[in-house]
């Protein structure tokens, strides 16, 4: 019997591209379509900090060359936003008013930066660092030995911070609430890890809060940060690293259960039998913790892509909901995290 399955994957991050790869391996005849808001094919996001130390262009960050998609018969719709999902008719509506039908859907739309409410009014002065384009723009805006101020200091940000200081840039992390996110670090441990960051050359300011952000004066760095102790910090670029917000606006009204992310069981299936979710966008039921929770990081996200693909093609695998999530220091005195383990 002819296979008429059409797998649609929203997102071409790690979760989406890993899922597409396994879908093809397990079902050689089906139609597979990846939809991505970005203009590029899947890139290796974890290598983005390298943009500061080499003259590489986006081609050097590609996970697979363009030919791979032709060979694997995976169609990639780029620069294409999903604006709405209609599970009843198994249809996506794309932002340019084109419908796209699916038989099985994987939501792997990841997350965008989270900016705390108090700083939201300054969001236009805070740069983004999620895509290649954003990373390149930050790189272009940052002069040699320039100063980057990081609001929050989550693990994604700290990864960037360590490679910036290694490349001779100055980095200041401001704020306490999101430091080391998504790790939950006990108060007594926190000082130890902050000291390690400072030893690495990252300036950490947990004692102050931001009152306002302004454009810099002429001939001064591009941004000014006014702190609650009236101190003024000049910065060339400001980034927010306060954790991620799942990208899910298109699921509004779809009738699929959502809390902060798409709620899925450990098999990554949502409350709609034809819809799965994987990666930063999903909240997985943890029987051990008796709650839905996020599992971040390359290893988890990649595994989720594989498991979703397996289960969409008839398997019954579950994600391991018990994990080592401890922040540690290495023998050489640096910070390490399972979240940073990649490759």
């Amino acid at each position: 019997m002819a296979n008429t399955e059409h797998y649609v994957v929203i997102g071409n991050g790690v979760a989406g591209s890993e899922a597409a790869r396994h879908l093809r391996q397990r079902d050689s005849d089906s139609r597979i379509t990846m939809v991505s808001a970005g203009k590029l094919l899947s890139i290796n996001r974890y290598e983005l900090p390298k943009i500061f130390s080499s003259s590489a262009d986006w081609r050097d960050f590609l996970l697979h060359p363009p030919e791979y998609y032709d060979e694997q018969k995976i169609s990639v719709r780029r620069n294409t936003w999903v604006s709405h999902v209609d599970p009843t008719n198994k249809l996506l509506m794309l932002h340019h008013r084109e419908p796209l039908s699916y038989s099985k859907l994987l939501i792997a739309s990841g997350g965008g930066r989270y900016i705390p409410e108090s700083l939201n009014q300054f969001k236009n002065l805070i740069a983004k660092f999620g895509t290649y384009e954003e990373a390149k723009s930050v790189c272009d805006a940052l002069p040699r030995r320039g100063h980057m101020v990081m609001l929050g200091g989550d693990m994604i940000g700290l990864d960037l911070a360590r490679s910036l200081v290694r490349n001779g840039y100055k980095v200041t992390v401001i704020g306490e609430d999101h430091l080391f996110w998504p790790h939950r670090v006990e108060a007594e441990q926190r000082q130890k890890f902050v000291a390690v960051l400072q030893d690495m050359g990252i300036c950490v300011r947990t004692d102050v809060a931001i009152t306002s952000i302004q454009r810099g004066d002429r001939n001064r760095p591009d941004r000014r940060i006014i702190l609650d102790n009236n101190e003024v910090i000049d910065a060339d670029v400001i980034l927010s690293f306060c954790g991620l917000m799942p990208s899910l606006a298109f699921m509004a009204g779809a009738g699929v259960d959502i809390e902060r992310g798409v709620l899925v069981n450990p098999q990554l299936r949502s409350t709609d039998k034809n819809i799965w979710a994987a990666g930063d966008v999903c909240q997985i039921w943890s029987p051990e913790e008796n709650q839905y929770r996020f599992y971040y990081g390359w290893k988890n996200v990649k595994k989720m892509g594989r498991i979703a693909a397996f289960n969409m093609t008839g398997a019954d695998e579950s994600i391991d909901t018990v994990q080592n999530e401890k922040l540690v220091t290495t023998k050489s005195g640096e910070i390490d995290s399972p979240f940073w383990q990649y490759g």
């Binding site: 094919l41 262009d57 363009p66 998609y69 620069n79 084109e98 419908p99």
Partner: protein, 602 residues
Amino acid sequence: MARTAKQRTDIQIAICGSAGDGTIAAGDILKQAMAKAGYNVIAFDVYPPEIRGFGKCIARARITSEQVYSLKSESDCLISLNDSHAIPHVSEVCKFGTVIYEDTPVSTVGEGAHVSSHLSPAHLPYGVAFREISERITSSARSRNIVAVGYLAGLYDMPAEVFHEVISGKFAGKSKELADSVGAAFDAGFQTGVDTFRLHFDRIGASGGKGKQTDLVMMSGNAAVVRGCLDAGIDAFFGYPITPATTIMEMLAREMPKHSGRLLQTEDEISAIAATIGAGYTGARAATATSGPGLALMTEMMGLGAMAEVPAVAFVSQRGGPSTGMPTKTEQSDLNLAVFGVAGDGQRIVLAPTNVEGCYKCAGKAFEMAEAFQTPVIVLLDLYLSNRYEAVQLPSKNPFAENCSKTPRKNASPAEYNRYKLTSDGVSPRAIPGETGRMHTVTGLEHDERGRPSDQPRIHEAMSVKRHQKLLPALKHPGVTISKRFGDKGVVDVGVLGWGSTFGEILEAMIEARKEGIRCSAMKVVMLSPLPVGPVKAFLDDCNEVLVPELNYEAQFASLVTGATGRPVHRLNRVRGTPMSVGEILDQIRQLVGHSGKIAAE
């Protein structure tokens, strides 16, 4: 990033839309602006003969900092103004080339009907809200095409000023409001392009290296023909519309009254050529323009022109045939008709220019030759050449002679005047009807020196010789290229012999072959009748292998050459309605090098 002098620019843009979308107008602004900025531009528009709202239009322009001779088979950028028309052309975009399209269609499109769903993984997508921008800036969606050109210019770092100049020039005769609104639409598109993050690697900087040009003119092959006619002092034109020759008549209809010329649209092609020959008979510089099917109808009158030795010029722009064939597709399959299509031995001059500048030269020179050799002259174009645009530099001084007629001696007595006198060069002094004392008979019948009908063997033989011999000096006519060799001198591995519009691709392929270390040269033959047998033979002598690429099935030029020289050649024939690709010719050259010395006559 500004372009430095050393960077080589070679970018081909294709704009695709439906008739009525302003595709050709957008392409026109682009090519004019780029020529003004000092770039070499070759452009080719394809549009349907149908009315607004139907049919596909494509404007292609290759913009280069160095001289090139043809369009590329792949474009670096495709702009879609109409997705259903653009979708089949997405595959013609090169790896890491860009596709620019409408991101905010006015209504829901069907699944798979949006161009973005047809991009290959190696294409770079740029979705733009052309319609919304146009509506916001001009209160109408009509300037989508201008927004698109603006976006392209911004995205590729093109200089905005030259576009402003071209837009002001184009709308000079219209209301200021309209010109301002078009300018604003361009600017809005431009800014959007500038603000877009670029993933592509090509840039078209401020200047093409030649500096800002004021004397370079972007013109199509047909427009160049018209300029040639006007500079040669055309007096009369008779024509019947037919794609792809129609624009010659349209442009002449606008221009000729300004130059005291007369133009008449006749009821058909037979009348058009009859009137042209009639006007030529009276001493006027007269022409017609048609395509293959029209020339087929004209053959009888062409014979009369040859027999009665009347100057007349016919511009024939070939399209896919036979019969009505493919009116909007290019082909080179009327060579046999142009060279041989006549009852009896009715040789005439046939010129086939290879580029736009050649169209200008051949058009003007055709009038000189028609007069000097008292014969119909066919200028053989094709759709690809007629509609192709190139940046050309026209001579500052009119290069065409006013009168090339051999006139009777002033004081010769009426009794001495023989209209068809046998002379050493075969050309008889020609009197114009009405000249006192120059009475003579003109007929389609074979005739003696006075023009009186005769079927005497001696006379027919002498007159046949005369009518053919008199054309041979045309091979030395001043100021026009009859044939020319390019590339390596002396003995070569492969020689490529070509004619007409295909020669641009031939040149490019030859240049590429030489870069690969193949000893290669190319020869263009502009005069197809009489054929410059000497230079062609000399060229063939130098080539280990000879390739003749042409856009027809029957290898018409290859057969002409083989017949005239007795030498074998390799044929490369394509009849897809599109120009031949450089790659195809290059592949053949490579193969021939491998085969050198082994291939017998085909």
